[in-house]
Symmetry: C2
Subunit: 445 residues, 2 copies
């Protein structure tokens, strides 16, 4: 509620309607006054960060945003959409789907009852009225640029139901900064980050019963921007569709804590390269990886470790950033992750882990190039203590084996007590599930 | 008609229906017996290659197909679709659009009345019944893999109305070979090349009045394959949609013959890289180029010359392959084009020009690496005679200027009489527009 300002009459009416809607979802036909009061009181009861506090985090975004300057719209982007324009068309009770058991959740197979949509048409002056509507198929012209030239990009975020029952997003301003950077590189229109966060929050709020009531699952949020101008020819798209869909997802670690991830590192395949778009979350970065991931799965590996260059630099793992915790050649404990040199995605969990590790200051923390040669040597000399991946979907995921040039390299990630990866994972989960108060977890309505 | 075998009764009935349809398009409501007879006689009157002769060209395809082996379906692709299954649902007279003036045509902005569609669902056993239907929007789930991970690929082909009024395709079997190669690299299902060519031919035949009655224009054919499985997660798509749309396009050279193309060669941007998918016609190869093309246009250049590596190898131009005709360091005349090393698209016009030039044997013809250093030196020494691009959209396009590292390199392409590029262009147009009989031009119904 903190998002929407004072408790005006229209606000209260809307609130009643929303709560009614939620009760409909639970097949309860009567609005409970207790629930309404409870909902209206939240604002006074808590002091977690609110969406409106996001401005205070601008500096942090700027630090994160790799181009080293704060975000600016392209001069000709036109009218922006705002949260205040948002139209909501709720699904009727007959359209609501049953919610799955949290234990049965798989990644990205099931979607909630509603979605967000905003169209952009340059010739109509810019962004059009944003809308929340029942989840529905998109109607796309067969010549739309997204279907031919991969004019498309996305983000991955999660909404978590905290131990206090409240729902929180994790650093959404960083997703929005990255999404706008991807949009500009794709020739697609940028948007006002805060307005979109407010719209997403409202969407999550409407479908809030889909946020799993457990700490082993969450609601995955997929904001997507596609170019829909219906003309052939490799050029910017003057029409676009921004949308967001929601999918309840299980924890990556449920039942998996006994084993780490195995990786195939095959230098014949490259994910990204200097002068390309490897640091943007554009669909085009993924198309070429599917065949290689299929090969890895066939050979019994869970993920691909992407290498780059003649010296076989470690870049990233599947859809995660990668960390190595080792004793370096000077005998120091060092946490290493590849630098933001354009080849890797500037991950938000990566950025958060670096922040936490630097704050705790218990070992050296370095963003630098690490080659397979250096890694292999360190593994042979028993200096590598842990390797792990970091990403929104997996949070933190231990790595225990790399197959490289015909050889199995074993990493003792699971053997260390007092592991860095477990520490990091637990700190992040504590923040995300509201076990500790932290400015990174933004409470929504 | 040669495609469809003997003139059975159903064949003649269909023929009548099609011709009626064409006449409807011309707002003539009566079927002319003369036209019908004319249509039915074509088979006996000509001896151009027919679609059914394609098998004879298998060896050529094999030579072209860069992986060096003939095409094989993935073992688990399932049921194939065939031309005999094709269902046709024609647009009603009220749905037919007016045809544009051939002089007003722009690339890819206008589409014909019909399209082709075939769905693939692994869990239903493979390819489903193919269909020709009125041109219509696609209905796509917002989580479809094509919209997130660029699981998409396409081809570019043209249908030409010859000087004899007959319609021909240019080497369609090569497009199909490349399309199947792209499909396999994208984790999408392959198809029977000949069956799809027959379906495309039927589509062009139905919309034949859209094939411009001029030698300065043609009907562009865009076969497209997209992954439509509605699940998030970077993985192969178990559902796909193969479709083809048609767009009448103007000649690239109309009114442009007085000047060549200017190129921006900026080594900071890379189109493709070893271990990637630069040799496949996947949408993901284009997304990253749009921003750079926009920059080039802003700076006054028509296209981008893509370089690769620290030695700034010339790879390709915009959406064309590139050729340099020069006096080499041994004083020989040499036609050079970059090799099929995975960085460039194996263009069908490129392949045809190499074939023609080798057959004529008037100068050395080489597929080899050429760097900007070598090119610049040769330009300085006045040894570069011509540079040109080759592609389906542009046929052959002369290049007259490259802006590289702050310097304008001028190429005397337009100054030579008896140019190789004009010779090549004319030979190709003669074949495409049926001025000469040649096995590369396949006549359709």
């Amino acid at each position: 509620m903190s998002i929407h300002g004072k408790k005006s009459l229209p606000y209260i009416v809307r609130k009643v309607f929303e709560i009614q809607h939620k009760l409909y979802q639970q097949h309860v036909r009567m609005c409970s006054t207790g629930r309404l009061q409870e909902a209206l009181k939240i604002e006074d009861e808590q002091d977690f960060p609110k969406i409106n506090d996001l401005k205070a985090q601008a500096e942090e975004t700027q630090y994160y945003y790799p181009v080293g300057k704060s975000f600016k719209h392209e001069p000709d982007v036109g009218e922006q959409f705002t949260y205040s324009q948002l139209r909501v068309r709720l699904a009727g009770p007959h359209q609501l789907q049953p919610k799955p058991d949290a234990d049965d959740l798989q990644f990205g197979k099931l979607f909630t009852d509603h979605m967000f949509k905003a169209a952009y048409h340059k010739r109509l002056g810019g962004w059009q009225t944003p809308e929340i509507c029942p989840m529905e198929n998109l109607v796309i012209h067969p010549a739309a640029k997204v279907l031919h030239y991969a004019v498309e990009l996305f983000e991955g975020m999660k909404a978590f139901r905290g131990v206090d029952g409240k729902i929180r997003l994790f650093r959404p301003e960083l997703n929005m900064a990255r999404m706008n950077a991807s949009a500009q590189r794709s020739g697609l229109p940028s948007f006002e980050p805060e307005e979109f966060i407010k719209c997403i929050s409202r969407l999550v709020s409407i479908d809030q019963e889909w946020v799993p009531h457990t700490e082993s699952a969450s609601l995955y949020i997929r904001p997507t921007l596609i170019g829909i101008e219906p003309t052939l020819g490799v050029a910017s798209s003057d029409s676009a569709l921004l949308y967001a869909i929601l999918s309840p997802v299980g924890g990556y670690f449920a039942g998996k804590q006994t084993g780490g991830v195995s990786l195939l590192a095959d230098p014949r395949f490259t994910r990204s390269w200097p002068g390309g778009v490897g640091d943007k979350k554009m669909g085009s970065n993924y198309a070429g990886t599917i065949h290689v991931q299929k090969e890895a799965t066939k050979q019994g590996f869970q993920q691909v470790l992407w290498l780059y260059g003649d010296d076989h630099q470690v870049t990233e793992v599947g859809t995660m950033n990668v960390f190595v915790f080792m004793i370096n050649e000077h005998g120091e404990r060092e946490l290493i992750t590849p630098p933001l040199n354009g080849l890797i995605l500037p991950g938000i969990v990566r950025h958060s882990i670096l922040g936490l590790a630097r704050q705790e200051n218990q070992f050296k923390v370095t963003e630098r190039k690490i080659t397979m040669h250096e890694l292999k040597k360190a593994i042979y000399e028993n200096r590598v203590l842990e390797m792990f991946g970091a990403g929104t979907a997996c949070v933190v995921s231990p790595i225990e084996r790399i197959f490289y040039m015909g050889e199995n390299l074993l990493i003792p990630t699971m053997e260390n007590s007092d592991s860095v990866w477990i520490q990091m994972r637990n700190t992040l989960l504590d923040i995300q599930y509201g076990r500790v108060k932290h400015p990174w977890a933004i409470e929504i309505d």
